[in-house]
Amino acid sequence: MSRTLERPEAPAPSAAVGRVPLLMLIPAFGALAILLLPLIGLFVRAPWSNIGEQLTSTGVTTALRLSLTTATISMVVCLVLGTPLAWLLARVDFRGRQFVRALVTVPLVLPPVVGGIALLTTFGRAGVLGEPIYEAFGYQVTFTTTAVVVAQTFVALPFLVLAVEGALRSTDRRFDEVAASLGASRWWTFVRITLPLAGPGIVSGAVLAWARALGEFGATITFAGNFEGTTRTMPLEVYNTYQTDASGAIVVSLLLLAVSVGVLAALRERWISGVSP
């Protein structure tokens, strides 16, 4: 429905007059090289001969299961909490909106380990909020799987909020007005009109958030700790393995790469359509 009502895509401008300019091609190939060469290096140095036993070791399978579970839960939390925030930023003109938007981008620019320390000082057992909670209920969030989800949500939330906000901005407000004039409640309008129109953007935001959560390392190892089965996600498993077995670490890295790229490729239609301006 959304496609027929939007203005048709303007034809892409042709690349200058004549051939593609070298001034664009050469740096572009440089960028491609920076992205591709490290991945190629991983493939070349991987110990293909005993890759099977490496992949099926309990440490790796446990870490993979933990990573997939926590990343998915984090994505859902981001969706549930982030979509309303994105809607507020896109649709409501409130005082301090610029500030809130800048605040949302903070985890994007913050080094993850700094995020981990920030979480620790707030929710750790000796933290600003964590200490009273521990005294009152005896509950400590650090070193639990919940802490992994918290750390991942902290770093992934900006991706979702910004993507959804962008998608919501580009949908026509007048559909909402038409729906209201026809007697639809605000909730019904939100669920049946706004969300479907912004659908591709929300999906791409969710996928980005999932991928970011899957790859999170610094905040996880600082805030949630590092223990097999509870908090040792795939990136931590790679780091651990690298300490004693460099080729084993390459295998685990390739597995993580395959999982991430596989999921992104499976959603590539929405991914590409969601990210381009």
Partner: protein, 287 residues
């Protein structure tokens, strides 16, 4: 994804402004965008000035015509920091750069070709991976010994008295791949304790930090770490700890550009002066 017919101001603006609006709100609307840009510019200039100012000073005493890179296990931090001063006083043309981390991580760096001159690890097992790879000049020398101990935060919140109390507490240990972790596992086995730690840290300094910050009830660290932490921790002795001794080997790294300076460092560590410094920080000495 082209926008639908949208009467709001953003539709008429340039594509770049719309993209900027989507990313950070800058440039939309125009007035606050300009203000935001000024703020960012001032902040960036301030940060740059701060960075340049800190570049000016270098508190190392060495004049720096040669740089000696020493990789050492985290537990050697205080002792080697002091020896750095001693060395630079004796060799005014050498600037010593120390890098502390888990022995297993450092060993991995050396075998991957990190440009370092000296390696000191917390047990012979991690050093062996380096000698097996042919990355040391000659045989390593044992220069110190260390044993392990349990520490709790200074107020001992869990009221731990001995090792068997640990099974119900949240405990931080080193990963088994690190020398401190290996020693911990041996001690747990000797004492027949089945412990599920709250977290496995990469190096012993991280374990100590978890304890002193109050995040865990107890941690397994070296005697030297407990001594360094002083009144920030309470110490609990481990039965049979004298049976699990970590021998610390030191070696010059093969292919070092400063092998003489590196050997001088090893000689300093093995000398009476070096051994006295190590003993001061709680290590058992070898000479």
């Amino acid at each position: 994804m082209s926008p639908a017919i949208d009467p709001s101001p953003s539709a008429g603006g340039s594509r770049l402004r719309r993209l900027a609006a989507r990313v950070g709100g800058f440039g939309y609307p125009q007035r606050s965008g300009r203000r935001a840009r000024t703020v960012v510019a001032v902040a960036a200039a301030g940060t740059l000035a701060l960075a340049l100012a800190s570049c000016g000073g270098d508190d190392d005493s060495g004049s720096g015509s040669t740089t000696l890179t020493v990789l050492a296990a985290s537990s050697l931090t205080n002792a080697f920091d002091q020896l750095e001063g001693t060395y630079e006083d004796q060799h005014s043309d050498v600037d010593v750069k120390l890098s502390y981390d888990s022995s297993s991580i450092l060993a991995e760096q050396v075998t991957s070709g990190a440009p370092a001159d000296v390696l000191a690890t917390a047990d012979p097992i991690t050093m062996k991976t380096v000698t097996d790879a042919g990355d040391t000049d000659g045989q390593p020398t044992i220069f110190a010994r260390n044993t392990m101990v349990i520490v709790t935060p200074s107020d001992n919140p869990a009221g731990l008295q001995n090792m068997s109390d640990l099974t119900d507490a949240s405990v931080a240990v080193c990963v088994p791949e690190a020398p401190c972790g290996n020693a911990t596992q041996q001690l747990l086995k000797l004492n027949n304790i089945d412990l599920t730690p709250a977290t496995e840290e990469d190096n012993v300094s991280s374990v100590l930090t978890k304890v002193t910050s109050g995040e865990v009830d107890a941690g397994f660290v070296y005697v030297t770490d407990a001594q360094a932490a002083g009144s920030d921790v309470q110490t609990i002795q481990i039965p049979h700890s004298a049976e699990v001794i970590n021998d610390y080997p030191i070696a010059v790294i093969a292919g070092s550009d400063h092998s003489q300076a590196a050997q001088d460092w090893v000689d300093l560590v093995m000398s009476q002066q070096g051994q006295d410094v190590l003993a001061k920080f709680g290590f058992q000495t070898v000479s």
